[in-house]
Amino acid sequence: MVGGKNILAMNREGFARMSFLLQKLAAGLVLATSMSAYAAAQDSMTIGLLVPTSGSEATYGQDMANAAELALEEINAAGGVLGQQVSTIVGDDACDPQQSVNAASKLASSGVVGVVGGYCSGATLPTLKIFADAKIPFVIAAANSTQLIPANSGNAFMINSTGNDQVARALEYFNSKGVNTIALVDQGDAYSQDLANLTRQRWEESGKTVATSETVNKGEQDYSAVVTSIRSANPDAVFWTAYYADGGLLIRQLRQAGYQGIIAVGDGSNSPELFNIAGSSAEGVIAFSNPTAEFLPNAKAFVDSYTAKFGHAPGPYAPLTYDGTKLLASAIEEAGSTDPAAITEALKGAEFTEGLAGDISFTDENTLARSNFIVLEGKGGAWALAE
């Protein structure tokens, strides 16, 4: 590499190569976008699914995607929506606010007529604006933090009961058992902190005492220090407001350390996995839960076809996602077009009675008009309805 001539030659070649690469890249990108536009113009419609299919909550997300797919399979077999076949496109939010923004933008720009999903409240929150700006109706199947309500600009619909309903159900249960003092444990994320704060507020308003409020970090494994604090405060009941994974460990460590009182968990912990993690300690644990498939009389056929298709039983949010997908389809049918305003209008006035998890209609805030919370109890390594 000596001499100016040589360097110049090399530069020319490098430059040519680079511009070639850039051309190829641009061509590829243009092709990709024009292909999605082409797909949208076809005689079919696409529904977006915003669920976590990677990361720590991937099991729940995959389960929701499966349920939506099953619902659409049935819809398509019956002739589709507005005479068109419906397909899905999955946006993986990884239960992470930043990734969910990317996933939602991807869905918004791929011409979907509506979106179903939303599992983690924290990851769902920033997507509301994106779907509102793109005027896409969004049926939120699982996420139920009360923080979502004020952020909704009218195109999102929450078909799971919110934290308010859950707290009401929890307080009712605690009072029926004569509980006077409770300990609250959350995991420092939007969903569980919101639920713990709401519970503390309502519980103290009713003149009772919160013995201690604790926060643990996700994935910490060792909760002995918190367990010791709880034991020294000695409350009548412990309410874990976060997800099953760390909840299972906490329950196990509470029982091992000899805590005898009631242990209750919120709807983020209603998974059968809790029994894998907590083992025999989960016996007698109370869960406030949205209705899961095994306790829904209408869901028998759904459970069978789901199990046949995917090789395992549906998870806790499968029925709601299935209902949400069918609700969206029926709203499009009622609107008579894929015009977003008409679909939103149809959802607002929906009187949906074909749901596995019960009827769906909405309040003025676009939340479910009734409370769907049930009380479960851990019995013999599985959930059963509590008396």
Binding site: G14, T33, A58, Q193
Partner: protein
């Protein structure tokens, strides 16, 4: 591993093109023109992703001042990003001060945070400094999670968009251009500061701290300057991040976030502005482009990282001879 001479690899050729002034300016104008037309050609999804990449360009250039120029390992850079974002969230959104008046407050707050954490700890050698910055980052994140003024774990949402000359920054396209401007300003500032007296002082300190001190450079002061400048970049990025997303929460400022920014700096080539820009684009675009690979996308991404570092141990586009 045999290190290939940079001129023989395709990237080396690219560097060669870059270093030749006859090509550099046309290339720069070409890239700027591409940036202007990109959102119109590529559509809204790509616009959001590119905006995100430009945000990381600003962040990575800021961290590059600390890591690349001054040679200080910082594992908690997201803290400054958080200070900028939360200052906007609290002062602009909660107390209603205009965005453009809040911006200098955010910058001052981050610079102040840089001085507070930097002055007692910058005497430490790099691995100890790394853990102090990591600890500082975690303290900021946990405080944001636990305090009520920061909105707890849910954070602050519904942050109002800024107006400039009677125009409201609203759509994702608007913010794309805002971040384009920010990135260009960050590049110019980085290049100028590297060539300044301070930039040369960093060079000495990075190569031989003791010799630099013997030559009369106050190493703590010089390092503190790097820290504060890096903090300013982070806070400005954070401020615009907050108004773009409209919602901020502690999860966006985790240790993983700091590591991602650091990855952009090292992957691209510490201390070299075009390298850092390239690094930022890779860490943001690669996982997005791999979305269709499905569950294995992070595995593919990791394998790619490993291969890049094995073949280009100094980063893709390292600074040479400095």
């Amino acid at each position: 591993m045999i290190e290939r001479s940079p001129v023989h690899s395709p990237l080396g050729r690219l560097q060669g093109v870059w270093d030749n002034p006859a090509y550099r300016w046309p290339l720069i104008f070409g890239l700027l023109a591409l940036m202007v037309v990109a959102p119109h050609v590529l559509g809204p999804y790509a616009t959001v992703i590119l905006t995100n990449a430009l945000l990381y360009v600003v962040l990575a250039l800021g961290l590059n001042v600390v890591v690349g120029y001054a040679g200080l390992l910082d594992l908690g850079y997201a803290a400054f990003f958080a200070v900028g974002a939360y200052t906007i969230g609290i002062v602009h959104h909660v107390y209603g001060l205009d965005f453009w008046l809040t911006l200098p407050i955010a910058v001052l707050a981050a610079a102040g945070a840089g001085i507070i954490i930097g002055s007692p700890t910058l005497r430490l050698r790099s691995d100890y400094l790394a853990i102090v910055t990591l600890g500082f980052g975690e303290i900021v994140r946990f405080s944001a999670r636990n305090l009520s003024i920061t909105g707890g774990a849910s954070g602050i949402s519904g942050i109002e968009r800024p107006w400039i000359f009677g125009w409201e920054m609203r759509s994702s396209m608007d913010f794309y251009y805002v971040f384009c401007v920010l990135a260009v300003l960050a590049v110019i500032a980085s290049l100028r500061v590297a060539d300044s007296r301070l930039g040369r002082a960093w060079l000495y300190v990075r190569h031989d701290e003791d010799a630099a001190e013997a030559m009369g450079i106050d190493r703590v002061k010089v390092k503190l300057a790097a820290y504060v400048i890096g903090a300013i970049y982070g806070s400005i990025a954070g401020a615009f991040f907050a108004v773009n997303l409209g919602a901020i929460s502690p999860e966006s400022f985790s240790f993983q976030q700091s590591v991602l920014i650091l990855m952009a700096v090292i992957l691209g080539g510490m201390g070299k502005v075009p390298g850092v820009i390239l690094g930022a684009f890779i860490v943001i675009l690669a996982p997005e482009l791999l979305r269709d690979v499905g569950e294995l996308r992070l595995l593919v991404f990791a394998a790619g990282l490993l291969l890049i570092m094995l073949f280009r141990p100094k980063g893709i586009w390292p600074s040479q001879g400095r």
